[in-house]
Protein backbone atom coordinates (compact mmCIF):
# COMPACT_ATOMS: atom_id res chain seq x y z
CA UNK A 1 0.00 0.00 0.00
CA UNK A 2 1.12 3.50 -0.63
CA UNK A 3 0.36 5.91 2.16
CA UNK A 4 2.38 9.02 1.33
CA UNK A 5 1.12 11.04 4.29
CA UNK A 6 -0.75 10.20 7.48
CA UNK A 7 -2.06 13.31 9.13
CA UNK A 8 -4.08 14.19 12.21
CA UNK A 9 -6.11 17.28 11.45
CA UNK A 10 -9.32 18.19 13.24
CA UNK A 11 -10.49 19.98 10.08
CA UNK A 12 -9.90 16.86 7.94
CA UNK A 13 -10.05 17.92 4.25
CA UNK A 14 -9.63 21.70 3.92
CA UNK A 15 -7.58 24.32 2.08
CA UNK A 16 -4.14 23.29 3.34
CA UNK A 17 -4.77 19.70 2.28
CA UNK A 18 -6.18 20.46 -1.16
CA UNK A 19 -3.90 23.36 -2.07
CA UNK A 20 -0.57 22.18 -0.63
CA UNK A 21 -0.26 18.54 0.44
CA UNK A 22 -2.18 16.99 -2.44
CA UNK A 23 -0.09 18.63 -5.18
CA UNK A 24 3.17 18.48 -3.15
CA UNK A 25 2.93 14.72 -2.67
CA UNK A 26 1.08 13.99 -5.90
CA UNK A 27 -1.73 12.40 -3.91
CA UNK A 28 -4.35 10.56 -5.98
CA UNK A 29 -6.51 9.22 -3.16
CA UNK A 30 -7.60 10.75 0.15
CA UNK A 31 -8.89 8.41 2.84
CA UNK A 32 -10.92 10.08 5.57
CA UNK A 33 -10.98 7.82 8.62
CA UNK A 34 -13.73 9.12 10.83
CA UNK A 35 -16.69 7.34 12.41
CA UNK A 36 -19.05 10.34 12.33
CA UNK A 37 -18.42 11.25 8.70
CA UNK A 38 -18.51 7.63 7.53
CA UNK A 39 -22.06 7.53 8.85
CA UNK A 40 -23.21 10.91 7.52
CA UNK A 41 -24.16 10.93 3.83
CA UNK A 42 -24.69 14.71 3.70
CA UNK A 43 -21.19 15.47 5.00
CA UNK A 44 -19.67 12.86 2.69
CA UNK A 45 -21.39 14.44 -0.32
CA UNK A 46 -20.20 17.94 0.58
CA UNK A 47 -16.62 16.80 1.14
CA UNK A 48 -16.69 14.86 -2.12
CA UNK A 49 -17.90 17.92 -4.03
CA UNK A 50 -15.05 20.05 -2.67
CA UNK A 51 -12.28 17.76 -3.90
CA UNK A 52 -11.01 17.93 -7.52
CA UNK A 53 -12.48 15.14 -9.65
CA UNK A 54 -9.12 13.51 -10.37
CA UNK A 55 -8.60 12.74 -6.66
CA UNK A 56 -10.51 9.80 -5.26
CA UNK A 57 -11.98 10.28 -1.78
CA UNK A 58 -12.82 7.28 0.40
CA UNK A 59 -14.55 7.38 3.76
CA UNK A 60 -14.43 4.75 6.43
CA UNK A 61 -14.91 4.20 10.13
CA UNK A 62 -11.81 3.42 12.16
CA UNK A 63 -12.88 -0.23 12.29
CA UNK A 64 -13.23 -0.45 8.48
CA UNK A 65 -9.98 1.34 7.75
CA UNK A 66 -7.67 -1.67 7.55
CA UNK A 67 -9.90 -3.29 4.92
CA UNK A 68 -10.04 -0.07 2.88
CA UNK A 69 -6.31 0.65 2.97
CA UNK A 70 -5.26 -2.93 2.26
CA UNK A 71 -7.73 -3.54 -0.59
CA UNK A 72 -6.13 -4.78 -3.82
CA UNK A 73 -7.25 -1.74 -5.80
CA UNK A 74 -5.31 0.51 -3.44
CA UNK A 75 -2.00 -0.96 -4.55
CA UNK A 76 0.15 1.64 -6.21
CA UNK A 77 -2.08 4.51 -5.12
CA UNK A 78 -0.62 7.61 -3.50
CA UNK A 79 -2.78 7.82 -0.40
CA UNK A 80 -3.24 10.69 2.04
CA UNK A 81 -4.73 9.22 5.22
CA UNK A 82 -6.58 11.64 7.49
CA UNK A 83 -7.65 11.28 11.11
CA UNK A 84 -9.33 13.95 13.18
CA UNK A 85 -7.89 12.85 16.53
CA UNK A 86 -4.86 11.16 18.08
CA UNK A 87 -7.16 8.51 19.56
CA UNK A 88 -8.47 7.50 16.12
CA UNK A 89 -4.90 7.25 14.80
CA UNK A 90 -3.85 5.07 17.74
CA UNK A 91 -6.93 2.84 17.38
CA UNK A 92 -6.29 2.35 13.66
CA UNK A 93 -2.62 1.54 14.31
CA UNK A 94 -3.63 -1.04 16.91
CA UNK A 95 -6.07 -2.54 14.38
CA UNK A 96 -3.18 -3.16 12.03
CA UNK A 97 -3.17 -0.08 9.76
CA UNK A 98 0.52 0.49 9.32
CA UNK A 99 2.08 3.91 8.91
CA UNK A 100 5.62 4.92 9.79
CA UNK A 101 5.05 8.63 10.32
CA UNK A 102 2.30 10.94 11.50
CA UNK A 103 2.03 14.58 10.61
CA UNK A 104 0.18 16.78 13.09
CA UNK A 105 -1.66 19.49 11.18
CA UNK A 106 -4.41 21.24 13.10
CA UNK A 107 -5.21 19.95 16.56
CA UNK A 108 -6.96 22.31 18.88
CA UNK A 109 -8.82 20.12 21.36
CA UNK A 110 -10.69 21.74 24.19
CA UNK A 111 -9.49 24.45 26.55
CA UNK A 112 -6.36 23.74 28.56
CA UNK A 113 -4.31 22.13 25.80
CA UNK A 114 -0.57 22.75 25.69
CA UNK A 115 0.45 24.89 22.71
CA UNK A 116 3.25 23.25 20.74
CA UNK A 117 2.83 25.22 17.49
CA UNK A 118 0.35 27.88 16.40
CA UNK A 119 -2.02 25.20 15.14
CA UNK A 120 -1.27 22.27 17.46
CA UNK A 121 -2.54 22.24 21.03
CA UNK A 122 -2.14 18.93 22.86
CA UNK A 123 -4.31 17.61 25.65
CA UNK A 124 -2.79 15.16 28.14
CA UNK A 125 -4.67 12.41 26.32
CA UNK A 126 -3.08 13.39 22.99
CA UNK A 127 0.39 13.31 24.53
CA UNK A 128 -0.27 9.80 25.86
CA UNK A 129 -1.71 8.51 22.56
CA UNK A 130 1.08 10.02 20.47
CA UNK A 131 3.81 8.89 22.86
CA UNK A 132 2.39 5.40 22.57
CA UNK A 133 2.60 5.62 18.76
CA UNK A 134 6.13 7.10 18.86
CA UNK A 135 7.23 4.29 21.18
CA UNK A 136 5.80 1.81 18.64
CA UNK A 137 8.12 3.25 16.00
CA UNK A 138 5.80 5.83 14.40
CA UNK A 139 7.63 9.11 13.92
CA UNK A 140 5.46 12.01 15.06
CA UNK A 141 6.08 15.51 13.78
CA UNK A 142 4.32 18.81 13.09
CA UNK A 143 4.29 20.52 9.73
CA UNK A 144 1.15 22.44 8.84
CA UNK A 145 2.07 22.89 5.18
CA UNK A 146 5.06 21.53 3.21
CA UNK A 147 6.98 24.82 3.44
CA UNK A 148 6.87 24.81 7.27
CA UNK A 149 9.89 23.47 9.11
CA UNK A 150 9.26 19.93 10.32
CA UNK A 151 9.46 19.57 14.10
CA UNK A 152 9.99 16.14 15.62
CA UNK A 153 8.12 14.76 18.63
CA UNK A 154 11.11 15.13 21.00
CA UNK A 155 11.38 18.80 20.08
CA UNK A 156 7.64 19.28 20.58
CA UNK A 157 7.66 17.63 23.97
CA UNK A 158 10.58 19.79 25.05
CA UNK A 159 8.70 22.88 23.98
CA UNK A 160 5.53 21.77 25.73
CA UNK A 161 7.35 21.14 29.02
CA UNK A 162 8.67 24.71 29.18
Amino acid sequence: MGIVLTRIDDRLIHGQILETWVPFLNVDCIVVANDQIAGNLMRRKLIHASVPKNIEVLFGSINELYKIICADEMRGRRILLLFSSSLDALKAFELGVSFSEINLGNLHGGPGGARVTCSVFLQQEDIENLTCLENSGVKISTQCVPTDRLKRWSELLGRQAK
Binding site: R11, H14, G15, L18, H108, G110, C118, S119
Partner: protein
Protein backbone atom coordinates in the same frame (compact mmCIF):
# COMPACT_ATOMS: atom_id res chain seq x y z
CA UNK B 1 -33.42 43.40 5.89
CA UNK B 2 -31.22 40.53 4.79
CA UNK B 3 -27.85 40.07 6.42
CA UNK B 4 -24.41 39.35 5.00
CA UNK B 5 -21.58 37.41 6.61
CA UNK B 6 -18.22 37.16 4.85
CA UNK B 7 -16.05 34.40 6.30
CA UNK B 8 -12.47 33.82 5.18
CA UNK B 9 -9.01 32.65 6.09
CA UNK B 10 -7.56 35.46 8.25
CA UNK B 11 -8.29 39.19 7.56
CA UNK B 12 -9.53 38.92 3.97
CA UNK B 13 -13.20 39.13 5.06
CA UNK B 14 -12.61 42.35 6.98
CA UNK B 15 -10.65 43.86 4.08
CA UNK B 16 -13.32 42.90 1.53
CA UNK B 17 -16.01 44.66 3.56
CA UNK B 18 -13.74 47.70 3.90
CA UNK B 19 -13.29 47.70 0.13
CA UNK B 20 -17.07 47.51 -0.33
CA UNK B 21 -17.49 50.38 2.14
CA UNK B 22 -15.01 52.47 0.17
CA UNK B 23 -17.29 52.11 -2.84
CA UNK B 24 -20.75 52.10 -1.27
CA UNK B 25 -20.36 53.98 1.99
CA UNK B 26 -21.22 52.47 5.34
CA UNK B 27 -22.74 48.99 5.19
CA UNK B 28 -25.68 47.77 7.25
CA UNK B 29 -26.24 44.22 8.47
CA UNK B 30 -22.83 42.99 7.35
CA UNK B 31 -20.25 41.14 9.40
CA UNK B 32 -16.76 39.83 8.70
CA UNK B 33 -15.59 36.57 10.27
CA UNK B 34 -11.81 36.22 10.10
CA UNK B 35 -10.59 32.72 10.94
CA UNK B 36 -7.08 32.56 12.36
CA UNK B 37 -4.51 29.75 12.56
CA UNK B 38 -4.81 29.59 16.34
CA UNK B 39 -8.61 29.25 16.33
CA UNK B 40 -10.09 25.93 17.34
CA UNK B 41 -13.08 24.63 15.42
CA UNK B 42 -15.22 25.63 18.42
CA UNK B 43 -13.89 29.17 18.36
CA UNK B 44 -14.53 29.37 14.61
CA UNK B 45 -18.07 28.05 15.02
CA UNK B 46 -18.74 30.50 17.82
CA UNK B 47 -17.50 33.45 15.73
CA UNK B 48 -19.66 32.39 12.80
CA UNK B 49 -22.77 31.66 14.88
CA UNK B 50 -22.55 35.07 16.54
CA UNK B 51 -22.16 36.81 13.19
CA UNK B 52 -25.09 34.97 11.57
CA UNK B 53 -27.32 35.69 14.55
CA UNK B 54 -26.34 39.36 14.62
CA UNK B 55 -26.90 40.15 10.93
CA UNK B 56 -29.92 37.83 10.77
CA UNK B 57 -31.84 39.38 13.63
CA UNK B 58 -34.50 40.79 11.26
CA UNK B 59 -35.41 37.25 10.20
CA UNK B 60 -35.23 38.14 6.47
CA UNK B 61 -32.44 35.68 5.76
CA UNK B 62 -28.65 35.68 5.67
CA UNK B 63 -26.16 35.21 2.86
CA UNK B 64 -22.84 33.70 3.96
CA UNK B 65 -19.98 34.28 1.52
CA UNK B 66 -16.84 32.17 1.93
CA UNK B 67 -13.46 32.47 0.25
CA UNK B 68 -13.08 28.98 -1.25
CA UNK B 69 -15.17 25.84 -1.61
CA UNK B 70 -13.43 23.06 0.31
CA UNK B 71 -11.62 25.44 2.66
CA UNK B 72 -12.33 25.62 6.38
CA UNK B 73 -14.41 28.84 6.21
CA UNK B 74 -16.64 27.10 3.69
CA UNK B 75 -16.67 23.77 5.51
CA UNK B 76 -17.83 25.28 8.79
CA UNK B 77 -20.45 27.44 7.03
CA UNK B 78 -22.17 24.57 5.24
CA UNK B 79 -23.85 23.30 8.41
CA UNK B 80 -25.79 26.59 8.58
CA UNK B 81 -27.35 26.08 5.15
CA UNK B 82 -31.12 26.35 5.58
CA UNK B 83 -33.56 26.90 2.74
CA UNK B 84 -35.04 30.39 2.75
CA UNK B 85 -32.99 31.38 5.79
CA UNK B 86 -29.29 30.92 5.11
CA UNK B 87 -27.62 30.65 1.70
CA UNK B 88 -23.91 29.93 1.28
CA UNK B 89 -21.86 31.26 -1.64
CA UNK B 90 -18.23 30.25 -2.10
CA UNK B 91 -15.49 32.14 -3.94
CA UNK B 92 -16.38 35.59 -2.59
CA UNK B 93 -15.20 38.57 -4.58
CA UNK B 94 -15.96 42.28 -4.55
CA UNK B 95 -18.59 42.16 -7.34
CA UNK B 96 -20.45 39.49 -5.35
CA UNK B 97 -20.50 41.71 -2.26
CA UNK B 98 -21.48 44.86 -4.16
CA UNK B 99 -24.32 43.01 -5.89
CA UNK B 100 -25.65 41.92 -2.50
CA UNK B 101 -26.04 45.54 -1.40
CA UNK B 102 -27.41 46.67 -4.75
CA UNK B 103 -30.02 43.89 -4.99
CA UNK B 104 -33.74 44.61 -4.67
CA UNK B 105 -34.66 44.25 -0.99
CA UNK B 106 -37.78 42.16 -1.71
CA UNK B 107 -35.93 39.45 -3.65
CA UNK B 108 -36.36 35.89 -2.33
CA UNK B 109 -33.17 34.66 -0.66
CA UNK B 110 -32.62 31.81 -3.11
CA UNK B 111 -33.08 34.11 -6.12
CA UNK B 112 -30.70 36.61 -4.56
CA UNK B 113 -28.07 33.91 -4.05
CA UNK B 114 -28.43 32.76 -7.66
CA UNK B 115 -28.01 36.31 -8.96
CA UNK B 116 -24.98 36.91 -6.71
CA UNK B 117 -23.33 33.77 -8.02
CA UNK B 118 -23.84 35.07 -11.56
CA UNK B 119 -22.55 38.55 -10.71
CA UNK B 120 -19.43 37.11 -9.10
CA UNK B 121 -18.64 35.02 -12.17
CA UNK B 122 -19.28 37.93 -14.53
CA UNK B 123 -16.86 39.96 -12.40
CA UNK B 124 -14.01 37.80 -13.64
CA UNK B 125 -12.87 39.22 -16.95
CA UNK B 126 -9.83 38.49 -19.06
CA UNK B 127 -9.34 41.76 -20.95
CA UNK B 128 -6.84 40.34 -23.42
CA UNK B 129 -9.46 37.82 -24.54
CA UNK B 130 -12.03 40.65 -24.84
CA UNK B 131 -9.66 42.63 -27.04
CA UNK B 132 -8.97 39.63 -29.23
CA UNK B 133 -12.67 39.17 -30.04
Amino acid sequence: MKGLVVVTHTILAEALLQAAEMILGSLKNAAAVCLEKEDSLETMNRKLTTAIETVGRDGDGVVVMTDMFGGTPSNISLVFLAEGQVEILTGVNLPMILSFFNAKPDMALTDLATSLSKAAKEGIVLPSALLAE
